[in-house]
């Protein structure tokens, strides 16, 4: 087992690039608590080593990873330098690793759910801009169900059904009517905003959701309590965070280890080829889109009944789009999208904690996911290659 894992480790230039990335991160890390090196020379030296490793890997033809190492090396120097200039008090306040990590997980969870949903839809060849709306519907119907049916599990069920409903509309227009998938997804976002907002006002008459709604419980792992670092992070996490991790693994297994996944990918790459061996393109696409709605809605439900325990109009505030960005940034792969969700979650967590430094600059971290994705689609650091047939309606002969 261990041998098989070892065999899968990157080799040669790829390994060099990975080491470069880690060294680049280290350059920043040494300047932060608990080490908090106060002299800038160390982060700079370490960063230069990281950049050197990146360039070395680059010369051996590993483009994407190597550029990543170079960029992270430069960032590591810059951030490390800034950290050495900053007061230790401030640093201690912001950089509480366990708290940051826990916050990252909280912010990444809704993204991960929706990103896995987006992955299914896009891999089957249907663009899903409607993730945002489906997420929002999950947030509202989740809390509505939990409130009216008095149990968070029933709330999750309602959320899933609502997400599936919106996804079904999208699927019908995109697959059967061969409407433009972007326009359709966009309409879903409008619709979801209108319907959730309307019902929210109608049912809760603008006073907000009641504070005593049944919410998704945390998972207490008592035995972790006293473990250094790990305890504060994993000792008390919301159930949905664990479920998100499970969903990522399940997505990977389904997508790459089962016949269903092979068929989904075939339909997204070359629907006619799939059709000629007897796969029903329509059925696969319907199933994938509906599943994407369900997952996005679960992510939304986590927001309302797992995270903040209330609902506001348009409370997803672009998280569906970040999930879409995570799919693209992660190159349409489950682990890649999950890593992107974590990265984007981390930038949200930073944005939440940085106001100790500057009230306004912190929000720039909210823009980070979008900037990174923009750079990714620009092909500066390797190209993101979408499924070949994504966005194209399929017509049976």
């Amino acid at each position: 087992m261990i041998e098989r894992l070892l065999a899968k480790l990157p080799r040669g230039a790829r390994a060099i690039a990975w080491v470069g990335i880690l060294v680049g991160v280290l350059a920043f890390w040494v300047a932060l608590p608990p080490l908090a090196i106060r002299h800038p020379i160390l982060p700079i030296l370490i960063g230069v080593v990281g950049i050197g490793l990146g360039i070395g890997a680059l010369s051996r033809g590993v483009r994407r990873l190597a550029w990543g190492a170079v960029v992270i090396g430069v960032l590591g120097i810059a951030l490390g330098y800034l950290a050495t200039r900053s007061s230790v008090g401030h640093l201690d306040q912001v950089v509480v690793w366990s708290a940051l990590t826990a916050a990252m997980l909280r912010y990444a969870t809704p993204l991960a759910f929706a990103a896995m949903g987006g992955l299914f839809s896009e891999r089957s060849g249907v663009v899903n801009i409607g993730l945002e709306g489906m997420m929002l519907s999950g947030a509202f119907f989740g809390i509505l169900g939990a409130d009216k049916l008095n149990h968070w599990a029933l709330g999750l069920l309602c959320a899933a059904l609502a997400g599936a409903g919106f996804a079904l509309i999208h699927a019908f227009f995109a697959i059967h009517l061969r409407a433009d998938q972007i326009v359709g997804g966009f309409a879903i976002n409008f619709l979801a905003m209108g319907i959730t907002g309307y019902l929210f006002i109608d049912i809760y008459s603008g006073e907000g959701t009641p504070p005593d709604v049944s919410d998704i419980p945390d998972v207490h792992l008592g035995f972790l309590k006293d473990w250094y670092f790990v305890g504060p992070i994993f000792g008390q996490l919301n159930l949905m965070i664990w479920l998100a991790a499970l969903t990522i693994v399940a997505t990977w297994v389904v997508m790459f280890k089962t016949p269903i996944g092979l068929r989904i990918r075939a339909v997204g790459e070359h629907p006619r080829a799939a059709d000629t061996v007897g796969i029903s393109v329509y059925k696969i696409r319907y199933a994938a889109v509906v599943l994407s709605g369900v997952l996005a809605a679960l992510g939304g439900a986590y927001l309302s009944i797992g995270f903040v325990n209330s609902f506001n109009q348009n409370m997803t505030a672009g998280r569906g789009y970040i999930a879409l960005a995570a799919v693209i940034f992660g190159n349409w792969r489950p682990w890649g999208a999950a890593a992107a969700a974590l990265l984007f979650g981390f930038s949200s967590a930073l944005a939440q904690r940085l106001p100790a430094y500057s009230e306004s600059a912190a929000v720039l971290f909210q823009a980070l996911p979008y900037v990174l994705t923009l750079i990714a689609v620009a092909g500066v650091i390797g190209r993101s290659i979408p499924p070949a047939a994504v966005g194209r309606p399929y017509k049976k002969q």
Partner: protein
Amino acid sequence: MDERPVLELRGITKRFPGIVANDNVDFDLRKGEVHALLGENGAGKSTLMNVLYGLYRPDEGEILINGKPAELGSPRAAIEGGVGMVHQHFMLIPVMTVAENIVLATEPVHNGVLLDYAAAERRVQDISNRFGLAVDPRATVRDITVGQQQRVEILKALYRGADILVLDEPTAVLTPQEAQELFAIVRSLTEQGKSIIFISHKLNEVTEIADRITVLRRGKKIETLPAAGATEEGLARLMVGREVLLRVEKGPAEPAAPLLRVEGLTVEDDRGLVKVRDVSFEVRGGEIVGIAGVDGNGQTELIDAIAGLRKVKAGRVVIGDEDATDKGVRDSLDAGLGHIPEDRQRRGLVLDFSLAENIALHDYDHQPASHFGWLYPKRLAEKARTLLQEFDVRGGGPQTLAGGLSGGNQQKVVLAREIDRNPKVLIAAQPTRGLDVGAIEFVHRRLVGERDEGRAILLVSLELEEILSLSDRILVIFEGEIVGEFAPGVTEEELGVAMIGGGKKAAA
């Protein structure tokens, strides 16, 4: 060989709006034989096979497999009936492995749900050994050669238990060596009891590989004959038909100075494969030079390079006195090039534009169509009105959308636009493809008329008849090289031999 037919198609008729693609076609296939389906492009071969594979429903007729009527409404039903198809454009997923492509939709599983990759690779290896089709199950389809991709397609059919294998123009994309390998595979398959339908329009390979040959022409079955004893000449006659050729009235050419010179041109396609290799020729004012060749031998890349639509790898293109190599479309046009493109709907016309706007496609940014970026729609319309009248375009006026016209009238619009620019050189690529007889005659007369005006005309066509009746000189292109030059008196058979590489280096 077994005389019992494993497959019978009886009285198959398939109509598309406007044409009858298959008209009461009978066809049968015996166990262990190679039965070739021969015909020109558009003769209805692919339609017939799509009917067999359940992609089209026939309007009339029935299909019998092993003597029993079969209802083949979908590819799945065809697969279950033992029919496998190797499409001309492969139905393979480039980013997946060979094994994944082959087992798709009939995947082996372990533990009930997980895809058993090891078993898939083993099974692929097994059948690839059994039938002598060497492939690497773990290779990604994108990375293997076209010939190997074709083997994967064949394996896909065999994996699904196909006894009847349809190969649709299998050699169209292969090199001669790969084609020979394919023939070896086909022979070994028939030895193991598989029956094969071999679709082609290439005479030499049909006589080489087939046991029997059925000739289709314009959707009708002409004859089924044994391959033994069939000659390429005889088959060519059956394929093309004996109808009176559309002879074009024309006097002898009076060639003047060369207006188009192509020197040592080498061009690659989008994938970086050399499609045109060191081609040199010239076309003089007042003559029509025809380029004959089988589809896909570099004609498209040659035209694109001359017209400035594709960068050349080496060599020069001179239009009139100007070097137009790699100057781009605009400069080639300005140097005096007119270009009737192969595909008028995809490239020649903007179907959603009015005829007036289409006629302005090259000159919209010059006077009188525009001035300082300001467009004069009235002038466009006036010019269009004159041209539409001159070229006898029917079915609409200047404001009619191009998409609303019939094919013949669309082509007249393209012709009008290109000729009206008074070009020194006119490239006519497949100028009569898909047109009716009246429109063909019009286009032909007009091309001859332009020749007599002193223009240099380069005619590229897949129709031998057209090449023979229009050209003053004929060049034959084969695998990107000019392999022969002929006078217009040459017979179709002679040309045909050169076009399939038979006369290579032998020509004058």
